[in-house]
Point group: C2
Chain length 306, copies 2
């Protein structure tokens, strides 16, 4: 079924303890769509500036499932740019700069050809902008949003309004604590369910993820790896794997938001993210095929089996 | 098969964000043996002072599997005492005081009746003392040691010598980093295997555990719980569940140190520890039966299933 993602496409500068990458392709929409394209077609709604390099545009062709009809190139606009430096343990980072460019202007519009989209992923954006995208997708059957500490701090009312309109929320461990005031991730997750969503996925980086769903709890570790090169985009590719898997299910009576569906999807998200971290930018995802994901999925499943 | 544990039995003062417990029964040997007694008999080798309260001695009767023949009460000696205060998130703590008492003197001896012990768990002690216990158990088939940052810092040579004589090592995430200089837990675990053990279990508290074994890797999350009252003893009861499960296996051709054996055992350790954290001291373990462990094991297995 049709999957649509809204978010950023940008140019990143990333410094890690093992190296650096300058002026590389990034952004939540880019990472998400590359990951979900392993499972099926994905429609992107994003905006870049006139300065968006042709070589990056060509990069999309390496992920043939990504539909670019909703990619706006804004005349006279500047592409979103972001720089960060990871700390020694790779679990935290400092943002070095953020140049919003076109991302700070009016959001892209959902093209008419996308209005029948069934699966909607709202990558991190101001909650009011995310709500605007929901309006433009009247045929949606599963809507999931990401958010960040900034919106919890400066746009909490908008975020609370958004939570009443989504099926699921994806956010980091510390963001769940910040949103709810609960220091325990199970308690924080349960609290978020009271705010509206049917499920919340709490991301814990190298420690995996926790699903708190109205119908159950699931906890999964990350794929244990030594090849940690650049964690940028892991959260977005995790979400891309989750939503890509959910949208690719064929059964007509399938409830994509059920506990069993989301639980199964988490493992796929975990596996895609485990490839993302093995190189800078999208470099590792460009190298792999669906068969590589499937092989690691089997390996992962055996690693976490009780 | 016969399981023996060496370690401390002491009196703890514990402060957590939700409450406090003064002068309660504690110590690694106490926690380990209580946990492993759900699986079968366990022999303890430990020493307390003449001041060890009779009410604590009576507590042992609530764990009928614990064999006290190796519990020495040293005349004129003082029982080990330890106090700690947990930080707000319960993931870290400050030690408030440590009064070694008899634990700082000559270690207890393994009684002659224990010399045929097959399974040996060396809870945290000076590595040279741990090595001394190995000598006293010539019939051992599986020897596993715990350690801590202090010994890595002040007795590293002794610890490295010990590692050549054990089948497995259990330690915390940050201790594995300290021992190996590796910031990645998989890399740290592989490095430790080069030092001698056939497997290493890296404990990550609320984030579960990682097994690095010569024959494979396994990662398990902790049991997701909201009832976090006191984490004291979780690591020791985890180890007690692991070793208790391994020692209770009946098959004659069973290799208790194999990847599959240890992997299965980890889930049992995880489940016992999840009860420990629900109350101060051993209070929760005193309330439950093996059937409670088994029921939560099934629940846990369903929560982590991929």
């Amino acid at each position: 079924m049709s999957l649509l993602v809204t978010g950023t496409i940008g140019i990143d500068d990333v410094v890690t303890p093992t190296g650096h990458a300058n002026q590389v392709l990034g952004g939540s929409c880019m990472y998400f769509s590359a990951a979900s394209s392993f499972y099926g077609p994905v429609r992107i709604v994003a905006v870049v500036g006139e300065d968006f390099p042709p070589k990056f545009r060509e990069s999309f062709s390496q992920f043939p499932g990504v539909d670019l009809a909703g990619l706006e190139t804004r005349k006279g606009g500047k592409t979103f740019r972001w720089g960060c430096k990871y700390h020694t343990n790779m679990n935290s980072r400092d943002t070095l700069f953020t140049e919003l460019g076109v991302v700070g202007e009016a959001p892209a519009k959902v093209p008419a050809s996308y209005a029948d989209s069934k699966f909607l992923f709202l990558a991190n954006s101001p909650p009011a902008v995310q709500a605007g995208f929901i309006e433009q997708c009247p045929k949606r059957v599963l809507t999931v949003a990401d958010t960040m500490d900034l919106w919890i701090q400066v746009a909490k009312d908008d975020l609370l309004a958004l939570l009443k309109r989504v099926d699921g929320l994806v956010l980091n461990y510390d963001e769940a604590e910040l949103l709810t005031g609960k220091m325990n991730s199970v308690s924080a997750g349960r609290h978020i369910l009271e705010l509206g969503p049917r499920f919340v996925i709490i991301k814990k980086g190298e420690h995996g993820c926790l699903l708190i769903h109205k119908d159950g709890i699931c906890s999964l570790p990350a794929y244990p790896t030594e090849r940690v090169i650049d964690p940028t985009g892991c959260g977005d590719t995790f979400a891309g794997g989750v939503m890509g898997f959910l949208a690719s299910h064929k059964a007509a009576d399938h409830d994509p938001g059920s506990f069993q569906s989301i639980r199964r999807a988490l493992a796929h998200g975990t596996v895609v993210a485990s490839f993302t971290i093995e190189a800078f930018s999208l470099d590792r995802l460009k190298e792999i095929k669906r068969a590589d994901l499937d092989a690691r999925f089997e390996e992962y499943a055996s690693m976490v089996r009780v």
